[in-house]
Amino acid sequence: MSERHLLTGNHAASYGAMLSRAEVISAYPITPQTTIVELLSELVASGKLDAKFITVESEHSAMAACIGAAAAGARTYTATAGQGLALMHEMLHWAVGARLPVVLTNVSRAMAPGWSIWSEQTDILSQRDVGWMMLFAGSVQEAQDFVIWSYRAAEQVYMPAMVSMDAFILSHTSEPLLVHDQDRVDAYLPKFRPLYDLDPSEPRAYGGLVNRDHYFEIRHKMYEAMERAGSVLAEAGAEFGEVLGHHYGPVEAYHMDDADYVVVTAGAMSSNVRAAVNALRDRGVKVGMLRIIVFRPFPFAEVQTQLAGRKKIAVLDRNMSPGHSGIFAAEVRSALSAQGVLPDVFGYVLGIGGRDIRVETVFDVVDDLLTRDRPERALYVGVKGLPIGPARTDGEVHPIEPLPAEVTP
């Protein structure tokens, strides 16, 4: 029986892994992911989840253990955040090249130094070139559902998938959700049929030396799989609606029918954008929200269709690729330029290091969007002492002042 519960995003993710019948779980603790694995270890210990639980000694090893287990035919799950995901980077590549459908929940947080455990998308977006499917959850329900949805698609195209959840805003916030019925999930997500299985009956080598004559072709098969992943995700998302009652797609279009102005967003801040859009519509502003749910493979068709013909586009980035722009903005621009029609895209960088994004912040962004003539690559929102605007280029690096005499011993 499916049941309504009040859970944090983290615990919802744990239930997602449990309902997906993960068989080998390997994780290393890092704030704010810890409660995901704590609950999973309780579920395993109590027997509610029949799985092997490996408490590894680093995130790099967590991914390596999942890769080993997946290569040996097991459905694997892990979770991490920030530094941990960065440490996994080398092995994230390995999961892709080995075509292992590992599923990972990343509680997206800012990168050190300084230490920050608060919400930011830079960590996960830094991995966008590796080849993992990437989904951005915007609610506790989605924190659970996207894990299940990911397995379904990943195990069809044999590509790994990661689900982003905002640090603390989702991970530690309780919302009501529907915890699905196990039988229904089993109907949606059949037993894992591995592409291959390490077994002495098949004495083969996996992943060894490949010279220039062969590497491209083997990689190309992976590129083609990733090209198919978009439609696989779309079909699987539709079927999620049929079997489990929630339909998911690569994007969510809100008040987009007649929107002249669009705010492109992803993740938990979308709920504030939604509230702002409602208020702005009441004031007569024809604004809509385009929420990106599947970031990889990038939903070119949906983005192009939804944004074509609009007057102005604001893209919200809770991340920054220094020397370039917010990453969602860059990706949206490149999707649109491929089509040849380029509505004005304004990139807004905000919420860095967990800086709060409120409904008022969205109002400020839309105000700027409506009043600013020319689009800017990256407009920083909420930097103390600066209005919304691009980075200054006339500054200098200030030396660090020595401590005042009263302070030094």
């Binding site: 080995a98 075509r99 044999y158 291959y196 083969r204 072709e217 083997i218």
Partner: protein, 548 residues
């Protein structure tokens, strides 16, 4: 193999499609190719009979007695005999000798001889129509008879005494070589169809000319039985040692008295001394040089000393007188001077003399051959028969060998001489093919430095175990058990001969040597690293330059 000219032929991941076998031709890397190249071992090369020792030891270790015996008897028909009396030059040359003791080849040879005692000798398939006379049934004559008979020739052995065996029966004492062992060997020869005509003396009952007329060839090996007299006053009071042994072997002599002396330092002297000692006498050996120059087999000297025989070196009897039924010997002290023609330092009198009285004094100072049956033209200026390396004489029908030519030597040298003469006789009469037993060593023997002893832990060598018999002249040693023999054979490095130890197989890093009761080299993958060559204990694998 899928089609790799199109991306659709590729797998989704870099998963292997083929085993490396046949796909990685690393044999192309090679400059040097390992090959099996057997060579004579140092022990074989040192053996006067050229017995292929590592080869027969390997067969013996695998309990393949018939094959071991067949390999051995290609060179020496009598392992049970030489396994008891041979001075084993092979052991002196053994690669292991300077490390922890030579392999006890003689003990193993005796073991083989005794285990094979009931195996029949090969019966010739056809009659060649030739008839060869062998004169003398000592080891040289018996050996020649055996090899000639193998080739289908009719062979008659003429023997002066009433029983065959020569020095084997009438010279060497029973405690070293029991008569029943000799009887057994004679019987096996008779079962081959060799005829024995005893009581026939060359020169008295039959002449050389008679024999050459009635036979296609004659091999004379009548030995050296004429004992040298001392040539000092009163030497008629001295007892010739060989004649004494002869009488003892016939059961017609015993202990002559409680205190005896033996003059001489050779094998006959040791035999006499030990017989006397075993019969209960107090025995002193008088030798004019020192222990270093003694020509006797070292083992026999050691055993004599262990028996309690006393040695007085640098002593020479110079006069003998009767002393009331006993013998009073004047003994002069000698000293060593410059080497003589034998290469040993010449004994020189010092002038100091003393007298000792013994119950009996025996002489064993050398034997010579009786050349009277031979025509003068066959005798050289030096007074010896002129003979080629295989016993050829001036008369092409007549061959000679053994002590008759060399003077007192060893049983194995006589056996080798008999075989060489048989080979020469057979070649002259038949000529077409050379039988396997007639071949000689193909190439130079392996050197001690070339072997690899790494896989042989130190272990003390085997000695003859004592026999349980108590009678004074009963055989003093026993034959070792198969288990003991096997343990000793494991000490053999198998120089120059592949005994299938498997060391090359174990250490090949490339699986380039497979094992089929011996190494099989896969030259498609062998990289020529040289490990098998370096690790082969017997240096049987060598590297040859690869043809480019």
């Amino acid at each position: 193999m899928p089609d790799l000219t199109h991306v659709d032929g590729y797998p989704e991941i870099p998963v292997s499609l083929l085993p490396s076998r046949g796909m990685l031709q690393t044999g192309d890397w090679r400059n040097l190719r390992p090959v099996l190249h057997p060579r004579p071992s140092p022990c074989t090369a040192a053996c006067p009979a050229l017995v292929p020792i590592p080869r027969y030891l390997h067969l013996l270790a695998e309990d393949r007695i018939e094959e071991a015996h067949a390999v051995f008897t290609l060179r020496n028909p009598f392992p049970a005999i030489t396994g008891r009396v041979c001075p084993h030059d092979c052991e002196a040359a053994c690669s292991r000798a300077t490390r922890d003791g030579a392999v006890s080849i003689r003990v193993l040879e005796r073991h083989l001889g005794d285990r094979a005692a009931d195996l029949p000798h090969p019966l010739p398939q056809e009659r060649s129509g030739r008839h060869i006379a062998v004169v003398g049934s000592g080891p040289a004559g018996l050996s020649a008879a055996y090899y000639l008979r193998r080739e289908g020739h009719a062979v008659t052995v003429f023997e002066r005494r009433d029983r065959p065996g020569g020095v084997l029966r009438y010279g060497i004492p029973d405690y070293r070589l029991p008569c029943d062992v000799v009887d057994r060997e004679i019987e096996r020869l008779a079962d081959m169809g060799i005829g024995f005509s005893t009581g026939v003396s060359l020169g008295e009952d039959v002449t050389l000319e008679d024999l050459t007329t009635d036979h296609d060839a004659v091999f004379v090996a009548t030995g050296a039985w004429r004992e040298r007299p001392m040539g000092v006053p009163g030497d008629d009071l001295l007892t010739p040692g060989l004649a004494y042994l002869d009488a003892v072997n016939r059961g017609e002599a015993g202990l002559p008295g409680a205190h005896c002396a033996v003059v001489g330092g050779g094998n006959t002297a040791m035999d006499v001394a030990r017989v006397l000692r075993r019969l209960g006498a107090d025995v002193t050996v008088l030798y004019r040089r020192t222990a270093t120059e003694m020509p006797a087999i070292a083992e026999e000297v050691e055993r004599a000393a262990a028996d309690g025989v006393r040695f007085e070196f640098l002593t020479q009897p110079v006069a003998v007188a009767a002393a009331g039924g006993r013998v009073d010997v004047t003994i002069e002290q000698m000293r060593l001077g410059e080497p003589d023609e034998s290469g040993r330092r010449r004994p020189e009198p010092t002038g100091e003399c003393g007298n000792v009285v013994f119950d009996a004094v025996f002489t064993a100072i050398g034997e010579t051959a009786d050349l009277s049956p031979f025509p003068a033209e066959l005798i050289g200026d030096d007074g010896w028969l002129t003979a080629g390396p295989s016993g050829e004489t001036g008369d092409e029908r007549v061959y000679v060998g053994g002590d008759l030519i060399t003077g007192p030597a060893t049983v194995v040298e006589a056996i080798a001489a008999g075989r060489r003469a048989a080979a020469a006789i057979h070649a002259r009469l038949e000529g077409a093919t050379t039988p396997a037993w007639a071949e000689s060593l193909a190439e130079e023997a392996l050197g001690v430095a070339e072997v690899n002893p790494a896989y042989f832990p130190r272990r003390i060598r085997l000695e003859d175990p004592p026999s349980a018999a108590v009678a004074p002249l009963a055989e003093e040693t026993a034959t070792v058990s198969p288990v003991t023999a096997l343990a000793e054979i494991e000490r053999c490095y198998s120089c120059g001969f592949c005994n299938e130890c498997g060391t090359c197989f174990v250490f090949c890093p490339d699986s380039a040597i497979s094992w089929d009761d011996g190494p099989v080299f896969d030259y498609e993958v062998c990289k020529g690293c040289g490990i098998c060559t370096a690790e082969c204990p017997g240096h049987v694998i060598i590297e040859v330059k690869e043809q480019l």
